[in-house]
């Protein structure tokens, strides 16, 4: 087996670096599908590569070599994979299996809990208003799914703001967005290098729902300012609450009224979502798609090539007996 087998382990590093720029530039629905598929494909290929490395090490264990009727000298001479790498791969593979099992368990329980809670809520109503002082709104997957909003948040918004908020949450339920994030995080559990890609999926489903809300309300700026208003309300300490409720344009920040390019490089998801809504609607970007497709193909092809290598070696080692 040659060094190609390590390639599927390295491509996820590139994908991780590319995930955030891709999530920012691609149309959100397309980005969600693409990034989710990327995490699944790259996790599968890197797991296959680990399995191959582990298998080549295992085949050299005297007992197993005898069992498979392999010639040990042939395996040693024909396989450049050091025993250390093989053992490390076996360890990583075990860790990945455990991590995937843990994430499946956590997500399955969360989903079951969510369905149970949604079923217990008042029949008929899609929107459930929670009493209390929290500024809170979320979509609860279920059959039917629910939109949970705190009464205080509803009071803080005007009719158009409420329409934007409900359209956003409804888009999450209608689009089954929790399935995308669950699949992406499962894949990232198998290969932690893919965690930034899974986080990017968390972001693109929000963008997807934002763009749906913008399409339904017909007003991108409305959705942007509603997100901003709710985020500032939810973050404000009681003393600052009134200022936040009165006007999102209140304090002028550090710019002092002077218009200055705003850097979103290290910003959290909320300012990036707002900036994306204030910018023109995203368009399909063919070049980016092609680049991602090529990356996935390289990882896949090298995993397949490595598998064929190992297979050929094992056949040869068997014939040599």
């Amino acid at each position: 087996m040659n060094a190609l087998v390590y390639l599927p382990l390295l491509v996820p590093v590139l994908a991780a670096a590319a995930a955030r720029p891709l999530a920012a530039r691609l149309e959100p629905r397309l980005a969600t599908w693409l990034l989710t598929a990327t995490t699944v494909a790259l996790a599968a290929f890197s797991t296959a590569a680990l399995a191959l490395l582990a298998a080549s090490a295992l085949a050299r264990v005297p007992f197993l070599a005898a069992l498979g009727n392999y010639s040990q000298p042939v395996l040693r001479s024909g396989d450049p994979v050091p025993a250390v790498a093989g053992s490390a791969a076996a360890l990583l593979l075990t860790a990945a299996a455990v991590a995937v099992a843990v994430v499946i368990r956590v997500r399955a329980r969360a989903l079951a809990e969510s369905y149970r809670r949604a079923a217990r809520m008042a029949p008929g109503g899609r929107v459930v208003v929670v009493p209390g002082r929290a500024i809170e709104a979320y979509a609860l997957p279920g059959s039917p799914g629910r939109i949970v909003v705190s009464g205080r948040l509803l009071d803080a918004l005007d009719d158009r703001g409420r329409a934007a908020l409900l359209a956003h949450e409804h888009a999450h339920l209608a689009g089954q967005h929790h399935l995308f994030t669950t699949v992406a995080h499962l894949a990232a559990a198998a290969n932690p290098l893919l965690i930034p890609v899974a986080r990017a999926v968390d972001y693109t489903v929000e963008r997807w729902a934002d763009e749906r809300a913008a399409a339904i309300t017909g007003d991108r700026r409305l959705v942007a300012s509603t997100i901003g208003q709710v985020a500032l309300l939810a973050t404000a300490r009681p003393a600052r609450l009134r200022a936040a409720a009165l006007g999102i344009s209140g304090p002028r920040g550090l710019a002092g009224g002077r218009i200055r390019p705003i850097s979103l490089a290290w910003a959290g998801p909320v300012p990036r979502r707002v900036a994306a809504l204030l910018a023109p609607p995203p368009r399909r970007q063919l070049t980016l798609l092609v680049i991602v497709a090529i990356l996935i193909l390289i990882a896949g092809a090298s995993a397949v090539e490595a598998a064929r290598d190992l297979h050929a070696l094992l056949e040869f080692a068997q014939a040599a007996r």
Binding site: S150, A224, S225, A255, V270, L278
Partner: protein
Amino acid sequence: MTDDGPARRPPGTLEAEVMAVLRAAGAPLSPGQVRERLAARQLEDLSYSTVVTIVSRLHAKGLLERERTGRAFAYRPVDDASLAASQMSQALQAGTDHGAVLSRFVSGLSGRDARLLRQLLGDDEDQPG
């Protein structure tokens, strides 16, 4: 009730008994009325302050709503649908596993994010159209 045992009750039993009394009442009750009804059910005689402590704790947990009647508060159970929802939002705030499949409208803002956001929306309002 979970237990009809003597003096020592497992923790939480008293809370459950108080909840049962309030559910059965069908109207808001003051701590004094709760105490009387507990006594009428032949449960151990609790002091007034113990009852106040229990209902306050239940209120803090979001299980009871209260309204002021005269000098004291009257308490009533939160209805099931909003109870389920408020338990859900508590679970969410506690950052537990249930949060994994929920889609929140906004995530938390750092101080820097909040400044950025004001700047973005503020600049936007300077340039209408």
